[in-house]
Symmetry: C2
Subunit: 183 residues, 2 copies
């Protein structure tokens, strides 16, 4: 028998976020349809609005979740700067849907406290690798340089802009490129 659906879904917010992550992976964040998410979750077309307000609200929540997972991945990579960079690129490629939402402020609700907090956690995890490296004069600029090269490589990889000769595995390719910064 078809599963009779209760009036109350039970955990609709989580179900919508899961569906959104899947949908963003399929069609990208811009083409995301709230009504499609509602269909995937088996609820009416107006149900998402109650939990997230509008599309920007949903993508903001998804971005916050993404920054949290990125922070975890960076912490797990340890204090080695190169490994942190590789972990950054690996996260972007392995969790493309998150990454594509995280750095699109025009899709977000500006100044959302949860998003800001999650972004801050990821930023802290990112800088710790540079700080641990010590010895350099200008930690700020070094930090920005490391972030820039990792972010740039990840973005270009996701955009399909890199030539074929970089190979299939983003981790090894990233390691070789990022190593140019810290010889």
């Amino acid at each position: 028998m078809t599963e009779t659906r209760a009036y109350h879904h039970g955990d609709l917010r989580r179900a919508l976020l899961d569906a959104a992550l899947e949908a963003v992976g399929e069609v990208g964040p811009a083409a995301l349809s709230l009504r499609d998410l509602a269909r995937r979750a088996g609820v009416s077309h107006a149900a998402p609005a109650h939990h997230f307000g509008d599309k920007a609200g949903l993508l903001t929540a998804l971005a916050a979740q993404g920054f949290d997972r990125l922070a975890q991945a960076l912490v797990a990579a340890g204090d080695d700067l190169l490994e942190a960079g590789v972990a950054y690129v690996d996260f972007a490629v392995a969790h493309r849907a998150y990454f594509e939402v995280m750095f699109r402020p025009e899709l977000h609700r500006p100044d959302d406290p949860e998003l800001t907090a999650a972004r801050e956690r990821a930023g802290t995890a990112l800088r710790s690798g540079v700080a641990a490296r010590g010895a350099r004069a200008d930690t700020d600029r070094d930090s920005l340089a490391a972030w820039s090269i990792a972010h740039g490589f990840a973005t270009l990889w996701l955009a399909g802009a890199l030539p074929e000769r970089v190979g299939e595995d983003p981790r090894t390719a990233a390691r070789e490129v990022l190593a140019r910064l810290t010889p």
Copy 2:
């Protein structure tokens, strides 16, 4: 008197591209509306379709135009690798609308010959700076590293992700950061 509009616009294709560039700068490439462009150009809502087919066609043409202008900017910057990187970042910030369209393949018509050609011209201009620098063992990886750090810094700047202490001027900030790659 209100300007009576001829049945034939005269240069509608260019007018639509100009309007698109302006609109993308205001609302971003995803929220672009073909009907809005038609209104800005003073033509009917279906006129854009004749020139570009659909939205992807229009954004593809805009991206091709952007790659051409980027190639010009890179050539004008000369053979110095650092200056080429600064020019790359400067282009992204000064011509944000172009840049935001250029690296979004999901908005493009895949394998468009004009876009591919324009991208190739920009890529050649980019690599020439690295090649001129010589002396290094692996030009491929050096090239990717330079592109990555410039692209990453530009992308983070545009996303508003950088901390306030980087300052107001993208050129000087970029110069300091990019210099970390080529000490």
